[in-house]
């Protein structure tokens, strides 16, 4: 199998699984429990968050600890724009409003992605990580001080100033209240498809290869004329836009939303999805985001102990997949499945050379 065919198969499998899951979920929708039904849209949002963070962490190789900040920006700008359209322009069409809100969320998050990316991407390693963490906290803190209202057709924004004219949309630390719940599962599904299309195409393009080159060896990439900052920026801003759109969908799924919802913990949660799914592996991110979002619900019978079990599972997973002894066992198990057709493919694989560390997209 050559590399191109491998990618094609990988991409088709990824899309196939997502489409199959959607068809299954929508046909079983009637027989689902209420709590599971309520999780469908958040799962879509977390999948998009995980896939987009994977673009930064796995493909561009920069640890970002502030991804929830972009989600927060997207959520609140989406809510404000949706409320503005409804109250200012009497736009009753919910689908149109949702699309506009998601576009606005993506746009705002993208603009901030550029503004934050310029200083952040000059740094390296752990320092870069701590600065993204700092930006995430700044966004949460600043969102606590933002007020917005609609007066007639005009949108009024206030900073540290709660007394605004007209109908209040955003109320500082109390967040958004009485949001129209217009998010749908279908929209979430389409957002996942858009995300996968954008991310997988980006990875398999000339740009994506340049991004991965800067990840694998910055100095070598620079010396063959790749503009490192530019390509890291492309990955960072794309991820920010996608996170903003996921945020808008997430925000419009609840009737109230406070800025405190998008804490540092949420960024970490998304990072956990990415790492457990396999760094750089898009399909892995999709699966782990789905499973881990549902896991606390599935562990409900442990009631008080469920977060404890979650923590233990997390540690156990990392120990099992990363210690040399358990790795050898895993490789043996894999080898048993592979051995059967090894003699046929041994010649073909000799040329390509497998990458290590599961970075193969």
């Amino acid at each position: 199998m050559n590399a191109k065919r491998k990618k094609l198969i990988y991409n088709s499998v990824t899309f196939g699984i997502v489409i199959l899951a959607y068809v299954l979920c929508s046909s079983l929708y009637g027989s689902m429990s209420r709590s599971l039904r309520g999780q469908l849209i958040p799962i879509c949002c977390w999948i998009v968050m995980a896939v987009s963070l994977n673009l930064v962490v796995g493909i561009s190789g920069e640890l970002s600890l502030g991804h929830a900040g972009f989600m927060s920006l997207g959520a609140f700008s989406g809510i404000v724009v949706s409320g503005w359209m409804l109250n200012g322009f009497q736009m009753e069409n919910e689908i149109l409003r949702l699309v506009i809100a998601m576009a606005a969320g993506g746009l705002v998050a993208g603009i901030f992605g550029v503004l934050i990316g310029i200083p952040v991407l000059r740094l390296r390693g752990d320092y870069l990580a701590i600065v993204t963490l700092a930006f995430g906290e700044i966004i949460r803190n600043v969102m606590n001080c933002v007020y917005a209202s609609v007066e007639g057709k005009r949108l009024v924004l206030g900073f540290l100033n709660p007394s605004l004219p007209g109908k209040l949309l955003l109320n500082g630390p109390n967040g958004a209240v009485s949001v129209g719940k217009i998010a749908t599962f279908g929209a979430g599904f389409i957002l996942i498809l858009v995300t996968l299309t954008v991310v997988l195409n980006l990875i398999n393009s000339r740009t994506g290869r340049a991004i991965m080159a800067t990840r694998d060896n910055r100095i070598a990439a620079e010396s063959v004329g790749i503009n490192v900052t530019k390509y890291k920026m492309i990955a960072f801003v794309t991820a920010a836009v996608l996170a903003g759109m996921a945020g808008a969908l997430y925000g419009l799924n609840y009737s109230t939303l406070i800025p405190g919802k998008f804490k540092f913990d949420q960024s970490i949660n998304v990072l956990v999805f990415v790492v457990l799914g396999g760094i750089g592996n898009t399909l892995g991110s999709v699966i782990s985001a789905t499973v881990l979002t549902m896991l606390p619900e599935l562990l409900r019978e442990f009631s008080d102990y469920r977060m404890l079990v979650y923590a233990l599972l997390l540690i156990a997973m990392m120990l099992i997949t990363n210690t040399p002894a358990s790795r050898a066992v895993l490789n043996n198990v894999k080898g048993m499945f592979r051995r059967r057709n090894l003699h046929q493919t041994v010649q073909a694989t000799q040329g390509t050379g497998k990458e290590k560390g599961g970075r193969q997209p």
Partner: protein, 294 residues
């Protein structure tokens, strides 16, 4: 005079941050990992001291010693069970394990002590309030103890690192782990010792923190933990004097920012200053610039 009292409060808060940051910076310098569970060790230390005083009726000094002992054992256990098997693994895997450990400690605390906030006894600090300039400037006992404790810890720790054999081993491991191993230094034991010291400091920090801000919850440690980590980066992570300077500056900036700019934006100001510093000095105030080798 108000400025002076704010400044003293800032230095006091900063001293607490500095003690926490020392734990982060030592572990980072020697084991090259971000120990996200450090903030939760602080919380455990505070809870143990609380129990020792409230339920067992022990004197404050004994409570502090018990808290330090429990945290030391906890730190060594965490290191040997969760982090040691991952010594050769990618740094991200260790980071996620540390995050898992942080969740584990928080949820264990939730099960043991419940979600209701406990109010930390004020009898921990026996020093009276100091009144200067005819009552114009009052410095509470907690403030004084925090500042003094910080100075004392700095002094002891610097002596330990520079004068003892174990301190020398720590410096070696931090410089080059492989070479240190070849020279016959027991790397695992050195890293264990680092965790022990860091966790004992975390217990002291927990008691100081809860004496100054007497609300004790399972999540008490997480925000100060993040801030102290920021302080460690601010001063140059891996550097012990850097952690102290970073911690104190961070505390002062936070209190002054809250007093003179905006109460709501206090945290944002702290993080904004961090970003600005890192833009001009990408390895922190006292961090070493490491040249990249091709």
């Amino acid at each position: 005079m108000i400025f002076l009292s704010n400044l003293v409060n800032g230095i006091s808060l900063g001293s607490i941050y500095a003690v926490i940051a020392l734990g982060y910076t030592m572990v980072y310098g020697i084991a090259k990992m971000l120990n996200f569970a450090h903030g939760d060790v602080i919380m455990v230390g505070a809870y143990v001291a609380f129990c020792a005083m409230q339920y067992w009726g022990l004197p404050p000094a004994a409570a502090l010693l018990i808290a330090m002992a429990v945290c030391t054992v906890l730190g060594i256990t965490i290191e040997s069970l969760a982090y040691r098997p991952l010594r050769q693994a990618a740094s991200l895997a260790v980071l996620i394990t540390a995050i898992g450990m942080s969740y584990l400690l928080q949820n264990l605390a939730l099960l043991i002590w419940g979600a209701n906030p406990k109010s930390f006894p004020s009898s921990m600090i026996v020093l009276p309030t100091l009144s200067l300039f005819g009552g114009g400037l009052t410095i509470s006992g907690v403030t004084l103890v925090a500042i003094l404790a910080n100075l004392l810890i700095m002094l002891v720790l610097t002596t330990f690192i520079n004068r003892t054999k174990m301190g020398k081993a720590m410096r070696c491991v931090s410089e080059d782990r492989g070479a240190a191993e070849l020279m016959g230094i027991n790397v695992n034991r050195t890293i264990s010792a680092t965790f022990a010291i860091g966790s004992a400091l975390a217990a002291i920090a927990g008691v100081l923190l809860c004496s100054a801000y007497p609300v004790l919850m399972p999540t008490t440690g997480s925000m100060p933990g993040i801030k102290a980590f920021t302080a460690a980066v601010f001063g140059g992570i891996g550097s012990i004097p850097g952690a102290m300077i970073g911690g104190i500056l961070l505390g002062v900036i936070e209190i002054l920012g809250k007093a003179y700019i905006s109460t709501e934006l206090g945290d944002a100001i702290v993080f904004a200053v961090l970003i600005i510093v890192l833009l001009f000095r990408p390895t922190g105030l006292l961090g070493r610039q490491v040249r990249e080798k091709v």
